[in-house]
Each structure stands twice: as C-alpha cells, then as structure tokens.
C-alpha cells in the first residue's frame, strides 16, 4: 500500500500540482483571517487537485494495467487511494498550521489567528464527504466520465461549506455542542461514510476489467 501512495506522490513531483498545493495552503492562512467559507473551500481544492491529478496520470498512461499486473491486491489499490487523500489532508493541515504560526510571529497584526481545531475537523468532514462520493463513481465510470459527477458533488460541497460558514461564524461551532462532542460527531460521521465508500469502491474495483 505504501508503494502505491509513494507512486501518487512521485508522479506529481514532475508537475506543478504540488507547488499549487503548497501555495494554496500558504495563501489560506491569509484568507482564513476573515473569510471562513472560502478558506475551507481553498483547503478542499488543494487536496482535490492532488488526488484528481494522480488519477488523471493513471488514466493518461493506462497505468491501471501496469498496477494490476504487479503483485498487488485490488483491495489495496483502492484503500491506498483513500489513504493518499488522508496523507494529502495531513500535509495540507501541516502547511497551513506551520505557515500560519510563522506569519503570526512575523506579523501578528496581519495574521492574528491560525487554523483552529474545529476548522480542521470541519475540513476533514468536507474532504471525507467529497471523496466518499467521488471514489465509487471514479471506479465505476472511469476518469473521464467521473469528471461530470464532480460538478454535482462540488455543488453539494459548496452548499455544505457555505451553510457551515453561515451557521457557525468564525469559531466553527454549531448546534450548541461542546467542542469535543462536535468534533467527535464530525470524525465519527467521516469514518462511517468513508468506510461505506471504501467497501463500495472495493466491490466495484474487484469486478472491473482492464
């Protein structure tokens, strides 16, 4: 599984997508100061970019044929895609936190706050919903056709982000729950929908013909 994740990273080293990923997350530290909805969306887009670019290369070079000709289980191929997203998520959080902290120390007036734990859990929830819906479509329809489903899922994600930003305001708190309960609900929901999605994707991919 580790090899497949490394593969997704190596193939993007040649591309500008990693640079854009870093740039978006650094820029996000500024956007975060007064535009929460846009900030979450930028964060999401940076991860989307890496994950979908990796799929684009697999499609362009017909590399599923290569991957499935090597000694690797199809379940592992699917699971690694989800795990890659989790790793991209952790990297995005690390960049935003590091850049935010550095800028805050350099100029506290410009950057008064760094990304909060509540925001990170909301972002995890958003990213999980998107990829939980996207991957089964990707495995079922292939790269080209699944791009159309992106528009629909993006619309849903945009709506969720906008609602969360409106309801919660800057502190990313909603529903009157404590931080612990709220974040536990978000994490629990994310785990459940991802688990269901992984199960569906494995089912689809196991029967796929190349």
């Amino acid at each position: 599984m580790f090899n497949l994740i490394i593969k997704d990273i190596i193939i993007q080293k040649k591309d500008k997508s990693i640079f854009i990923f870093i740039l978006l997350n650094v820029l996000n530290t500024f956007v975060l100061q007064n535009n929460y909805g846009v900030s979450i969306f930028l964060f999401f887009i940076s991860i989307y970019l890496l994950a979908v670019y990796a799929n684009a290369y697999d499609f362009k070079y017909n590399s599923e044929l290569m991957i499935n000709s090597m000694p690797v289980n199809r379940r592992i191929v699917v699971a690694s895609k989800y795990l890659s997203v989790l790793i991209f998520f952790i990297c995005a959080v690390a960049i935003t936190l590091t850049a935010g902290t550095l800028f805050h120390f350099a100029n506290p007036n410009l950057i008064s706050k760094v990304v909060s734990i509540n925001t990170i859990f909301v972002e995890l929830f958003i990213v999980s919903i998107y990829f939980a819906i996207f991957f089964p479509f990707y495995y079922k329809l292939g790269y080209l056709k699944s791009r159309w489903t992106n528009f629909i899922i993006m619309g849903i994600i945009g709506g969720i982000i906008s609602s969360i930003a409106d309801i919660s305001g800057g502190d990313m708190k909603f529903g009157g729950y404590s931080t612990l309960v709220q974040n536990s609900i978000l994490l629990g929901t994310a785990i459940i929908i991802i688990a269901v999605s992984v199960f569906i994707s494995i089912k689809i991919y196991s029967n796929k013909e190349f």
């Binding site: 590399s63 044929l65 000694p71 013909e209």
Partner: protein, 288 residues
C-alpha cells in the same frame, strides 16, 4: 518437467466475440508463441492469464497455483511486456524503476543496472521520449529484474522495424538460455517465432486451432502447388485453405504425409511457414 502455465476450458464472451474452450499448457524453460490474426483473442487470453479480466468459465493455473486465488504470489514470478506503454511517460527510467521496484520482494537492482547498460538505455531519459523499441527494452529490463520465471509478452514486436525486431529476438534468445525462464509471447508477426519458439498455440476467431511443438507443426503442415484441374470435391476436403489463380492452385494441408501419397508427382509439395499456416487457416478458400 513442471508445467508453468496451464489453460483449461477457458471461456470468455464480450459482445459478439467469444473465446471458446481454450486449452493449452506450457512447460518450464520453453518459449510458446501465441499466434492469431488481430482480434482472434490473443490479448483477451493474456488479460485472462494476468487476471485483468474475469473469465466466464475454465481454469488458469500458473506455477501450479490458481490465477485468481493466488494472484499475488503468481505475479511476483511474472514479468510482463505489453504492446502499449503502461508506464508514466513523464517520469524518467530511473523514477519509474523506483516505483516498480517497490512492488517486488525479489527486486535485484544490480541485475536491472546490467540490463539497462546492455540495452543501452539512459536511466535519466524521460519515458515519453523513448522510441517504441526502447520502451519495450525498458519493460523487459523491469520484467527481468525481479526474479520472474515466466515472461508474458503481448505483441511486443508490433510496430517495430525489422532491425529492432531482430534485436529483440536476439535478446529473448539470450534470456531463454536460462533454463528456468519460460516465455509466453503473442504476436501476429509469425516470422518472429521461427527463431525462438518451441511451441506454437494458434487461435482463430476465439477457437483453438492447435497447440503443439513448432517442429511438429512445421513437419505436419505443407503447401501443395498444382494445376486447378486436380481440384475435385474430395481433394478440396483435404485442404485447410486453397488459393486459386488462373495458373493453378496453392493450398495448405495439415497432413503432409497423406498429401505426398495422394499427389505423388502431380503436385509440388513445399514446407509451410507459420505465416502460411496462419493465412490459409484464417482466410480459407480464395479465388484470385
């Protein structure tokens, strides 16, 4: 002698195409040429062997293991070379090698470096910039560097110029000097096989025509040339395919001995090439 690859009653349907009851086996240390015209089912069979598509029926055993249940163990010991490039074209040879090497327990870096040097491949060259021949050499270097005992090649010579095809055949000839190496090689360019194949499996429209040793095939089949007046109903039945022209006929038989008795001195009997066997079987009777 141990059987490396055994295909039993293999069936697969795709729309109008049907691979019907395919049976053949390949022993360790031999080269099998898998021939048939385009669309005969060669790539489908290879994809079934590699478990890239699902069979409708039948069994495929590789190294005595089931191709589906023991897929991972089997693929550790299989090297693959496909007709199309399946590697990330924007990466260099070295970068791509790093990705592939991680998947195999028995990856041998020294061996890979030797092959890269022998094949005159620049490890820093981007794959998209390699010629088709160089891409095939790279795929072969990868296939040979992880302790593979079975090399499966799907049309590796299609689209290559004759000089490079000859070079590739020389490379394969050297590889098979290792008695542990078995090669299964699909092609529609039958001349490639004359030099290196021990066995020939021929399929036509999804049906097995034969799977025999090359020498036996070339011994059994013959081209008969004679005057058209000899061709009556019974004689026609003796042939797999007949090509008739104003000056006479040329036909393929799968029973050279019988033809020798039947025609004695009235016809010319010549050795059939694999290409003759394929062309006459596929095209049947032709009147020019």
């Amino acid at each position: 002698m141990s059987i490396v690859l055994e295909v039993k009653n293999l069936k697969k349907s795709y729309g109008d195409f049907r691979l019907n009851n395919l049976n053949f086996k390949l022993e360790k240390g031999y080269v099998m040429g898998f021939i048939g015209e385009n669309g005969a089912g060669k790539s489908t069979t290879i994809k079934l062997i590699m478990n890239l598509i699902k069979k409708d029926n039948g069994n495929i055993n590789i190294f005595g293991m089931d191709s589906v249940k023991d897929e991972r163990k089997i693929k550790e010991k299989i090297g693959f070379v496909y007709d199309e490039n399946v590697f990330y074209g924007m990466l260099t040879i070295n970068e791509m090698k790093k990705i592939v090497a991680g998947f195999y327990k028995k990856w041998d870096e020294n061996k890979f470096q030797v092959y890269i040097k022998n094949f005159e491949l620049n490890p820093n060259k981007v794959i998209d910039e390699l010629s088709k021949g160089m891409k095939i050499k790279f795929a072969l270097a990868l296939a040979l560097s992880h302790g593979a005992e079975l090399i499966i090649m799907d049309e590796p010579t299609s689209g290559l110029d004759p000089a490079f095809r000859s070079e590739l055949m020389d490379i394969l000839y050297n590889i098979i000097q290792d008695e542990n190496m078995t090669i299964f090689f699909s092609t529609h360019i039958t001349t490639d096989l004359e030099k290196i194949a021990d066995y020939i499996t021929f399929i036509n429209k999804g049906e097995l025509v034969f799977s025999e040793s090359k020498d036996e095939v070339l011994e059994k089949y013959a081209i008969i040339k004679g005057a058209s007046k000899l061709l009556d109903g019974d004689i026609r039945k003796e042939f797999i395919g007949i090509r008739e022209t104003a000056s006479g006929f040329k036909a393929l038989t799968s029973n050279k001995q019988k033809a020798e008795i039947l025609f004695k001195d009235s016809c010319k009997i010549e050795k059939a090439s694999l290409e003759d066997i394929m062309v006459y079987t596929v095209r049947g009777d032709i009147r020019v």
